[in-house]
Amino acid sequence: MKGGFRQSMAWLHTWAGVVVGWALFVIFATGTAAYFQEEITAWMQPEATPAASPAVAAEQARAFLQRVAPDAQAWYVTLPGKRGASTQVFWVPAADAPPPDRPTTAMLDGAGREIAARATEGGYFLYRFHFDLHYLPVIPARYLVGVCAMAMLTAILTGVVTHKKIFADFFTFRLGKGQRSWLDAHNVAGVLALPFYLMITYTGLVTLAAQYMPFGIAAAYPSEAAFYEEAYPLGPTIAPAGRPAPAAPYAPMFDLAGRRWNGAAVGFVNTVNPGDANARVSLVRSSAERMASRGEALVFDGANGALIAPVANTGVAAQTESVMIGLHAGRYAGPLLRWLYFLSGLAGALMIATGLVLWTVKRRARLADPARPHVGFRLVERTNIAAIAGYPTGLACYFLANRLLPLGMADRAAWEINCLFIAWGAVFAWTLGRPARCAWVESLGAAATAFALVPVVNALTTPRNLAVSLWRGDWTYVGFELTVLALAAGFGWAALRAARRAPVAAARRKTPAERAAA
């Protein structure tokens, strides 16, 4: 484009950022929250209690499944880990079975009983929203998210090219200087976590690469299934023999896995043809232990407990992809690294937010009459507020709804989610009728208030309030509520600053003396 390389890259950076900025903010925010999805789910189910050792949990799950789904084709068990307190089971009914009269999933507590916890999607909703959005069919939603991710990758690369003084301005953040301050904030937020943004955007695209770039598979294989068979062989699928056989105990299988994997934990227990002579039990290595996300599996004969030869793909490209997906999901991360992921994600949300605000600030300076902007500008400004202050208010209301909605309500989990969107929509609708600065102050204030209310409402509706959690050393609950309070404080500070800010004087040009001193 005319004006040189850097200028055209600056143009591309601005437009790639602005077009997807609102969606990207929400995608970033939900992804950041998803790093603690299991903790969020634990907070949203205060009735759930922690579980026993993995082998015992697997036996309890088997006993439950034997009672509830003895004729299923396959049982899938997700074992409790360091972060999740309960056992998840899921089964595939037999092909000729009548439609099930209950959901084919269950959550079990430490005694192997189905948890009668409140119906909620918990943190899992935030994780799924991150790439599936909501109220949309899944495939189009993932394409939308993919477009946003590709635009983000472009914005990051063009941002680096455009930022002339990336080292000189590395630590520069001058408050109270209007447009310059917004640019400083955007630059600092962008540069300090730059490796994270590059990694997270690229690996995010990789997690859904088969949908975004299917042409490699299509050109080399007759079908996608053929590719997966060759790349990730599961071993031959085995039909049921039709003869019932007692199930071999899990404990020796777990011992063998522990010895083979140097003590690493088992994450999943999958059983094909349960109770049959041709039952196969797969122990899949927990993804909490290594970066590579496709867990190794050991397959055992389900009737006599003998180990069947393991298969794994060890190609370099496949391993690289596995590590990339592992890096994005961060399931391997311990507590310190997980918090660092979370803080970097927050920095990303701040980078996007400051970028959006910077764009409106710059555009306002160029308007014919800054005091009375045209309707397009007003709409953009309100949408900024809706994304940056409205979505967090919605999220806080999601947590509040979890405590306030009646326990026996029909579709309770869906209604918690609806509350998020209702609150979000309400903030947007409110801002439409307000002058811009009031809209900012009020919606930031709403977000601060809603977050601050979360521990209060929790204390009023459950016995697990912050004081009790501190006393018991229940760090999941403490961490959740302190983070929510920190968010409330952050939004409150932003609201106060927005209220205090005087109309900005145009930045004057530096005198030659000032320029020499810099």
């Binding site: 590395f170 630590f171 520069t172 300090l192 970066m291 890096l327 660092l340």
Partner: protein
């Protein structure tokens, strides 16, 4: 433990590197440092960051160590920025006080 040490080294490293930049030399030290001193600070800063990285690589292996170090670097650099902001606010406040006298 080792993570805390890595954090402190990174914070010290970024503080040193910050002081090699003219703008921050002017703001914090009220003068420009001679080039030899600046180069020395730069070397020290990078050495401290390298030390921080090696501690994490030793603790977690090179793969996880690198990822953890990148996250830690973001966090500590941000605290240095925050420190500069606090310093700037205190300096302007005291300047305003002394001007009023």
């Amino acid at each position: 433990m080792s993570a805390t040490l890595a954090l402190l080294l990174a914070a010290a490293g970024f503080s040193a590197l910050c002081m090699t930049l003219p703008r921050h030399q002017n703001d914090v030290l009220r003068r420009r440092l001679p080039p030899a001193r600046t180069m020395g600070l730069r070397a020290a800063g990078f050495a401290l960051l390298a030390g921080s990285y090696l501690i994490l690589a030793w603790r977690d292996g090179f793969g996880r160590g690198t990822v953890t170090w990148a996250g830690l670097a973001t966090f500590t650099a941000a605290t240095v920025v925050a420190g500069l902001m606090v310093h700037a606010r205190r300096t302007t406040a005291s300047e305003r006080c002394s001007r009023r006298r």
